[in-house]
Amino acid sequence: MNREEFQQTQEAPYKPLTHTVSWLKKNLFSSWKNTLLTIVFGIISYLIVKNSIVWIFFSADWQVISANFRLLAVGQYPAAEVWRLWICLTLSSVLMGLSWGLWKGTVAHLTIAMVGMYTILGCLPFVMTETRIWLLVNVVVLVTAYVIGKNRPKLKKPLLIAWFLMFPVIVFLLSGFGVFNHVGTNLWGGFLLTLLISLVAIVFSFPLGLLLALGRRSKLPIVRWFSIGYIELIRGVPLITILFIAQLMLPLFMGHGIDINNVIRAMVGFTLFTAAYLAENIRGGLQSIPRGQFEAAESLGLNTAFKMTFIILPQALRAVIPAIVGLFIGIFKDTSLVAVVGLTDILGIGRNIISNPQFLGTQMEVFLFVALVFLIFCNMMSYASRRLEVALGVGKR
């Protein structure tokens, strides 16, 4: 070790120390009140953290999660057909990887988080070899697609179209429609069902919400009052009542002959519910557009349809994207309510597991695991929404 290195190692710990001390003094012990606050919060958080760590690593029985991992993930989906789910995931990995290469920024962060998640899942001790292989394939696909997409800006438009086509493709692959063995929606369960219900609600509520928002601002009184009535009625009652309406009254309304199963009913309920909230968000965006834009469009001789599609809506929707993402986070969380009406989403499965005498006394483990899954996904989405807000410059112009 030469002299210079020696000095560095000697000085290195010294500098951060004063820094730490001054930081501590400034942020934790600046006055006696602050010190008291620090001590109180310190004791509370010490107790919570210590007890949680002890519980997580020593007394919790995580066996229940590993034994039921499949159920929690895909519910009763037949094991022989699970490859179709993997194909869906791989397809979305392709698109995700391409998007990562094309747009970078927030998409890149999210994709890296996904790669991390797949890797962690793949390294878990209890997953099957098949799962490991598929996860590895997904990671490879993500990275390859990234490399392919990196220098091809021309791909942007086809990629957007591909994203829109993803939904029908997924539905097709999941249920089979004659090409593969049919898997009824009553077999969709676990986290798969949670994802699907929120996806359906998002996709189908969008046109409905858009129409309702336009209807609410329409000059035609009947249309306007109908939209107001619908939106306020839905927003005034709890989601659970709407789910009950969908479960109990939809079959009544549809008459016999048309048989709709539980899952579809819940999806209809969610779509109708989301549309009302989405309409209000979009209306907010429409109201933020200055009058001059409307007048300019009219003076160009555009009719209402053209004015809306080409001038007003692009601006209005752009202004409310963060709010819409926020709404979708809420809907994603709310899908857990289907457990109350007897569906087996991830929470419903969790409730079934704890009533199994084999896993007695594992309520905390099961529900904390469910909470963790939601926490990870919601955090990722809200992170994306925050970044999007900055990127779009909403409220900054």
Partner: protein, 392 residues
């Protein structure tokens, strides 16, 4: 000339006066057709199941009992009264929930802006965790993993001999009325009025003389003095503390919080508080920095700045979103159906499963929630008007 004008006037389907009417007529027709389709189907299905539509079941005897109730109810009472019990339970959980969530939310929201790093971090973690997990999952955690996981009554945990935790409910010390409670209550009103007068007089004197007259201390002192006088007259305390004791298979005294109610309340409060905290934080951040600097320049201390300068201005921004959160809390209380707490939806489900009157029961539930939402909005709008900036 006449011919020309007639040829330029458009045909009626392109007339600007006719188009809106036509469009609306088509829309109304479609909606009515859809409605008629649903209606006839519903009638047909009901007939097929051998049921009729009507609310006369409300007067019939409900043959179930309700555990948690605020008014007398037994299995011989009517379905109508069962609904009333449910509505009262909803109001109970909503009212307590709103009060507690507001307090907790304000504390956390202010902590998020604290200078203290630890307080700030703890508050941030709290908000992130509770906002990003579904409410129902939180309710299940509290219900199945906490309240139902307490030991049985005989082995119940107890804290300081005052609080007991068992899987049949949590028992806390509660107050019991004494014969002189009424006198104390009236005396309290008089005392509050008196101390208000004292406070006002001291304030006026302080303004007149420019010297500190300690109005708050005087007001408090006079209230305590009045209390001593009442004590001398009644020689009895206003309320008796009833401390719970284990008596066989139950508890004697105290107030029992059932596991369903406890789980629902705790989850609702903690979940809503995380949203309120964000609203409070946003409201405080929206107060212009100059206001705080000006207050500091006047030599005010930071708690005083918070109380007199920041909060009155922030509250105007906070109230509209806060109203939304209150409405959400009321609506979310319907999740009690999942933990067997008999509020409106819970009672509704029981009635529904007994009578099969799905349309009627759901319409009652919807009506009650709509009127509760309207009432809350009305109250908050009045409060909002009261705090609005009075401009010229």
């Amino acid at each position: 000339m006449k011919k020309l004008s007639s040829s330029t006037s458009p045909p009626f389907w392109r007339d600007k006066r006719v188009i809106p009417i036509l469009l609306q007529a088509i829309f109304a027709l479609l909606v009515m057709l859809l409605g008629a389709f649903f209606f006839t189907n519903a009638l047909g299905s009901l007939k097929q199941m051998g049921m009729s539509f009507g609310y006369d079941f409300l007067g019939k005897m409900a043959s179930f009992d309700i555990g948690d109730k605020l008014i007398e109810f037994s299995s011989t009472d009517t379905y109508g009264k069962a609904f009333l019990v449910g509505i009262l339970n909803t109001i109970k959980v909503a009212l307590i929930g709103i009060i507690l969530a507001t307090i907790l939310g304000f504390i956390i929201g202010i902590s998020r802006l604290s200078n203290n790093w630890l307080a700030k971090t703890v508050a941030t973690v709290y908000v992130e965790v509770f906002r990003n997990t579904p409410l129902l999952v939180q309710i299940f955690i509290w219900f199945y993993a906490v309240f139902l996981s307490f030991p049985s009554i005989e082995k119940s945990l107890n804290a300081f001999g005052l609080f007991y935790f068992s899987n049949r409910g949590t028992v806390i010390p509660w107050f019991e009325l004494t014969p002189s409670s009424m006198i104390w209550f009236i005396s309290l009103l008089v005392g509050l009025f008196l101390s208000y007068i004292v406070w006002k007089v001291r304030i006026i004197k302080q303004v007149e003389t420019g010297q500190r007259k300690y109005p708050s201390f005087w007001a408090l002192g006079s209230l305590v003095g009045w209390g001593v006088i009442t004590w001398i007259f009644t020689l009895q305390s206003p309320l008796l503390l009833s401390v719970p004791v284990i008596a066989g298979r139950g508890f004697d005294g105290g107030y029992t919080i059932g596991p369903g109610f406890g789980a629902l309340l705790v989850a609702l409060v903690m979940y809503t508080a995380s949203y309120i905290a964000e609203i409070v934080r946003g409201g405080i951040l929206a107060v212009p920095k100059g206001q705080v600097e000006a207050a500091k320049a006047l030599g005010l201390k930071s708690p005083t700045i918070l109380r007199l300068v920041i909060l009155p201005q922030a509250i105007r921004i906070i109230i509209p979103p806060l109203t939304n959160q209150y409405l959400n809390l009321i609506k979310n209380s319907s999740l009690a159906a999942a933990v067997a707490y008999p509020e409106l939806v819970g009672v509704g489900i029981t009635v529904l499963s007994q009578t099969g009157k799905s349309v009627e029961v759901i319409s009652i539930v919807i009506l009650v929630y709509l009127s509760m939402s309207l009432f809350t909005s009305l109250l908050m709008n009045i409060f909002n008007k009261y705090t609005q900036l009075v401009e010229r």
